[in-house]
């Protein structure tokens, strides 16, 4: 791994250069009280100071609505316009935190678990991730409890750590990151040998023992803990939609007479409609069953089948929840139950 230094000023110039090279920039932007990922046209819109964006960066590889293919009916024939990856842009995702970069791991595992998902993989292939290590956190953050950390480099191509007001330590992590670095090396300087990254990172306390949670959860499938935890859940999909690893989707038809599009859009296991059968039967008919599914999927099924926990500890679900279903508080309960 290479260690370099880049000043804030050079960084901004570098990003401008990236844009003139035709690479799209997806980065946090602050509007009012919220910071969120947007495609930006001017680097001046960039926001460096947020603890967390409202949404995760996953939409850049897994958009909330995406056209999979189109068709045209002509007499007895159907013309198909298949998914065309050639028009997809190269994207630099800048300023995401380690919990977001690491989230592309579980997301990729889901999209390649059985079938290799073309739209996801094609988009993912065109992404470069430059993450920003965390110097700030809030009470919702719990990455250290799920195997991550404020300076976790997993998933990032390059990671920047703010080491002074106007400069960053740049760690070049992957081959892709290195290619990127080689291309823009003129903006970087040598980093001092004695920089200790840990000194600049925020401390995030460990809130629960993840192995214990995984183990207990399986034992407690029939317990009334789920009912207890989910009583106040109002069944919206906010937690799933802001989550960096939630990948459930629905397939819909956008038909207009003889032409139409097949569309994939986000769905959430928190919705009653999610498991409703055509017969009218709903195997997950209560909110507590749906809450159990959400937690079990992330902390039991995914570790079991994909060898990866479906949670990066970003805390977004808890921040977004209209009724304060705090995930780490609820997971903590599994350590004592």
């Amino acid at each position: 791994m290479k260690r370099k230094y880049i000043s804030r000023h050079s960084l901004m110039n570098c990003l401008k250069k990236v844009q003139t090279d035709g690479i799209s920039l997806y980065a946090p932007v602050t509007r009012g009280e919220q910071t969120d990922f947007r495609f930006i046209t001017s680097v001046d819109d960039l926001s460096f100071d947020s603890v967390q964006t409202v949404r995760s960066a996953k939409a850049v590889a897994f958009p909330c609505s995406e056209k999979l293919f189109s068709y045209t009916k002509e007499k007895n024939d159907v013309q198909l316009q298949d998914y065309n990856p050639d028009v997809l842009p190269e994207v630099l995702v800048f300023g995401l935190h380690p919990c977001d970069a690491v989230g592309f791991g579980p997301l990729g595992s889901i999209f390649n678990w059985d079938t290799q998902d073309k739209p996801y993989n094609e988009r993912r292939k065109r992404l470069t991730l430059i993450s920003l290590a965390c110097t700030r956190a809030d009470e919702y953050c719990f990455c250290t409890s799920v195997g991550g950390g404020p300076g976790n480099t997993e998933g990032s191509d390059i990671q920047l750590t703010p080491i002074q007001e106007d400069g960053y330590l740049a760690e070049i992590i992957t081959d892709k990151g290195n290619e990127w670095y080689e291309k823009y090396s003129s903006f970087f300087e040598e980093a001092a040998e004695d920089i200790r990254k840990e000194n600049y990172l925020v401390e995030i306390p460990v809130k629960f023992n993840i192995e214990e949670v995984e183990r207990k959860m399986t034992e407690l499938f029939e317990s009334d803990i789920w009912q207890l935890q989910s009583e106040r859940c109002i069944g919206c999909g906010a937690c799933a939609f802001v989550c960096p690893t939630c990948a459930c989707f629905d397939i819909q038809e956008d038909a207009h007479g003889n032409t139409g599009n097949r569309i994939r859009c986000w769905d959430s296991c928190g919705f009653a409609l999610f498991t409703l059968h055509t017969s009218g039967d709903n195997p997950r008919s209560t909110q507590s069953q749906r809450w159990r599914q959400r937690l079990m999927h992330k902390f039991s099924y995914m570790p079991e089948r994909l060898t990866v926990v479906g949670c990066t500890g970003c805390g977004r679900c808890s921040r977004a929840c209209p009724v304060d279903m705090n995930l780490s508080d609820n997971l903590k309960m599994f350590n004592y139950e």
Binding site: V29, R38, F39, T41, S42, D45, K67, S70, D254
Partner: protein, 159 residues
Amino acid sequence: MTNEFEPKVLAFVCNWCTYTGADLTGTSRIKYASNVKILRFPCTGRIDFMLILKAFANGMDGVIVSGCHPNDCHYTSGNFHARRRWMLFRSLLDFLGIDIRRICFSWVSAAEGAKWAELVNETVAGLRELGPYTEYHRVANFLSDSPTEARKEMEEQHE
């Protein structure tokens, strides 16, 4: 052949008054603008506000909604109920920035063939001045555009 803009207008009318009125316009041999397509409903009370939005989404430049005069409703009060709904609907659309000059509400009775012709002509003339309505149609069709267009939905906008 002129290149003049021809507005596309959809008229939602009730069966008992305006549809019969429009029929009278024809049988009276009154000429009026051919830009309008007429959809017949049992009553103005049946005209769901979503139908008006669907018209715009499918590329209409304007909409006419018409039925029986107050107290003349075949079902006694359908038009009174519709009138209340339109009041609130208009105020909401206006607040959202949808140009309510493109929706014309009217009462045309079965005897008012001439009024129907006048209503259509005036609506079409008004729309001609306003020009094509593209905004609503454009957002409705974002998926048929290229991914770059679709991506604009995720882009930071500047004032």
